[in-house]
């Protein structure tokens, strides 16, 4: 158990999902080579990650795609299977077969044509429906984020223990204003206006200040007008907040505040 282990073990999931930056990845792999615990965990996580593509709704590609792929990629198609090569047989009287073929053939041909058209039509309909379902699945994933926030915010507004904290702009952002509504059980809704635009590589971070230490509520990226409304989950076991503050921090946030304070305020009775 090394300090590197405590720090790097948190990257195992991103490593297993294949989304570490090259630098982080190199550092993690170096650690991985000598850490049996992380290696075992990564093995398990890869297993879970490899199952993810199967959670996707299955949609058949259009039938034409197969031919297109084979034509463009591998033009040298093999000959027909041997079983299809015609074998000579001793035939019954010629007129019988001709007559039978004409009657049956005409009927079958018409029938086959109709069925073929019908099948193609149904296949196309099915594929359209499947594609719509898959597209909807994707949109649902996006909508889920928005719905979660809205629902969580409503929960805070209606919480019996809701506390209001009005924040005033500090000298670096004198015209900034914000209001936080906080409930121990349900989290915090934070609404802000007039924050200055973020410098590159920086982000605002919202803190719940307690008697013990400031606890990070989350990050804040205001819109073009310097405003926004965000929902944060806060720890249920947090000490009663003595203040809420906003500081300017390096992108990604920090565990404890380091940057200039932009907004601060104390709880007020509702």
């Amino acid at each position: 158990m090394t300090p590197a282990h405590d720090e790097l073990r948190h990257d195992a999931a991103a490593y297993a999902l294949g989304v570490l930056d090259p630098g982080e990845r190199a550092a993690f792999e170096t650690h991985l080579a000598g850490c049996a615990e992380c290696a075992a965990e990564v093995r398990e996580m890869r297993r879970a990650a490899a199952s993810l593509p199967h959670a996707v709704p299955q949609v058949s590609p259009p039938p034409s795609l197969r031919a297109r792929i084979l034509r463009e990629i591998a033009p040298a198609a093999p000959g027909p299977p041997a079983s299809l090569v015609r074998r000579e047989r001793r035939a019954p009287p010629w007129w019988l077969s001709v007559a039978a073929m004409l009657v049956i053939g005409a009927g079958l041909f018409a029938y086959a044509q109709r069925m073929q058209a019908r099948v193609s039509n149904l296949e196309a309909q099915l594929r359209n429906a499947q594609a719509r379902a898959a597209a909807a699945d994707r949109l649902t994933a996006e909508a889920r984020t928005a719905a979660f926030r809205a629902q969580a915010a409503m929960g805070v507004f209606a919480a019996p223990d809701v506390a209001r904290i009005d924040l005033a702009g500090q000298p670096v952002a004198a015209s900034a204003r914000a209001r936080a509504l906080w409930s121990r059980q349900r989290g915090m809704v934070f609404t802000v206006a007039n924050l200055p635009p973020l410098p590159a590589g920086r982000v605002y971070q919202v803190w719940v200040v307690t008697a013990q230490a400031p606890v990070s509520a989350g990050l804040l990226t205001p819109d073009a007008s310097g405003g926004g409304s965000v929902y944060y989950e806060t720890p249920v076991d947090i000490l009663p907040p003595t203040a809420v503050a906003v500081t300017l921090e390096p992108a990604g946030g920090v565990p404890a505040p380091t940057g200039a304070m932009y907004l601060v305020g104390k709880p007020a009775p509702l």
Binding site: A14, A16, V19, R43, S51, I73, A74, R138, P255
Partner: protein
């Protein structure tokens, strides 16, 4: 019903058999036999197309990605390494990489790139990645993974989905969800471990 359950959950022999069949097809591809590629397409084209469609949300883009995937399989069949995972997993990794690259290019965000299929992601895939040959089994398995995902707490699930389907880094996910980086790391880890547990529990 027992046999159905067993088939669905997958006997190890069953997926090994399917993998052996895929490897035969791949060897034909190495020998420049287009029939081998046709077999691979028939067995995995649907899964590849579906993954691309989920990532890109557009059918014609998904078709092009599918075409790219099998073009790459045709060109690089010789580089497939069994010790790194099944043929099915290999194709799906290529599909994910291609689809995410295209997704990023479309959003004009060239910075960052999901790890290439030649590298790490491939190694991550378990050698026993289950069988997708039978559509029934695949559907059942998909449902099982889907249920396990749905059972995860919201942030854990979304963090995993953003990483896997959009190829976002932990930092990008933190920005998107307006959560501190440390929180995102913790959620992603917990979520993936829980997903693993749920999938293991579903096995007999």
């Amino acid at each position: 019903m027992i046999w159905l359950f067993a088939a669905v959950v997958g006997f190890p022999g069953r997926s090994a058999e399917s993998q052996a069949e895929d490897q035969r097809a791949l060897r034909r591809v190495v020998d420049r036999d287009s029939g081998g590629l046709g077999t691979l397409y028939d067995r995995h084209g649907r899964a590849v197309f579906s993954l691309a469609l989920r990532i890109l949300g557009d059918e014609s883009d998904a078709e092009e990605v599918t075409q790219d995937v099998f073009a790459q399989a045709w060109r690089r069949a010789g580089q497939y390494d069994e010790s790194r995972g099944t043929v099915a997993a290999w194709l799906l990794v290529i599909a994910r990489t291609r689809a995410i690259d295209r997704f990023r290019a479309r959003r004009v965000r060239p910075e960052g790139r999901v790890q290439d299929d030649g590298g790490l992601t491939l190694q991550q895939l378990p050698a026993t990645d289950p069988d997708v040959a039978s559509e029934m089994m695949a559907a059942e398995r998909g449902q099982r993974v889907r249920r396990a995902l749905e059972a995860l707490p919201f942030l854990q699930r979304v963090a995993i989905e953003l990483a896997y389907f959009e190829g976002l880094s932990q930092r990008e996910i933190a920005e998107r969800l307006e959560q501190p980086l440390g929180t995102v790391k913790t959620r992603m880890r917990l979520g993936l471990l829980k997903l693993r547990d749920a999938l293991v529990e579903a096995q007999p």
